[in-house]
C-alpha cells in the first residue's frame, strides 16, 4: 500500500515553488501525494494542525510534519 504525503499550502509564492520542486519530486511509486490549499479549504486546517503543521508550506509525510521555509502561519489563515 502506498504511503500518504500531504502538501499543505496557501498559494503563496514560496508555497508554489515548494510544491513544484519538493512535493512533485517525491517518489510517486511510494507515496500518494495530495495537495491541499488551506486558504481555500479551511475545513482541512484542523487536520493539518493535528498533524503538527504550524505554517505553510508544509509536507506531512507518513504522518510526520515538515515545514518548508516560512510562508504564512495557520493562525493568519483563520482570520
Amino acid at each position: 500500500m502506498k504511503k500518504k504525503a500531504v502538501f499543505y499550502h496557501a498559494g503563496c509564492p514560496v508555497c508554489v515553488s515548494a510544491e513544484a520542486n519538493v512535493a512533485k519530486s517525491l517518489d510517486h511509486q511510494t507515496f500518494d501525494v495530495e495537495t491541499v490549499h488551506l486558504g481555500k479549504d479551511k475545513s482541512r486546517i484542523q487536520e493539518a494542525e493535528r498533524a503538527g503543521v504550524k505554517s505553510v508550506p508544509a509536507l506531512v509525510i507518513d504522518g510526520a510534519p515538515f515545514h518548508i521555509n516560512f510562508g504564512a502561519s495557520l493562525a493568519d489563515l483563520k482570520k
Copy 2:
C-alpha cells in the same frame, strides 16, 4: 540526465528526521540525492551558502533551496 538534489544537514534531530522522511522520499529515478553533513564537512558551507541555504536541514533541488523546519543556522556551524 538526472537532476541533482543535495540535502544539507548538521546531524541535529530535526535533520535526521528530515533526511529519513523527505530526502529519502524523493524520486531517485529523477534525482541524484547527495547528503552533506555541514558540521563535519565545513568545506561545503560556502557552496551551500551560494545555493541560498540559510539554515539546516535544507534541500537544494535543481539549484533551488528549501529550508525544512529550523535546525541550526549556518553562522553557528562556522564557530
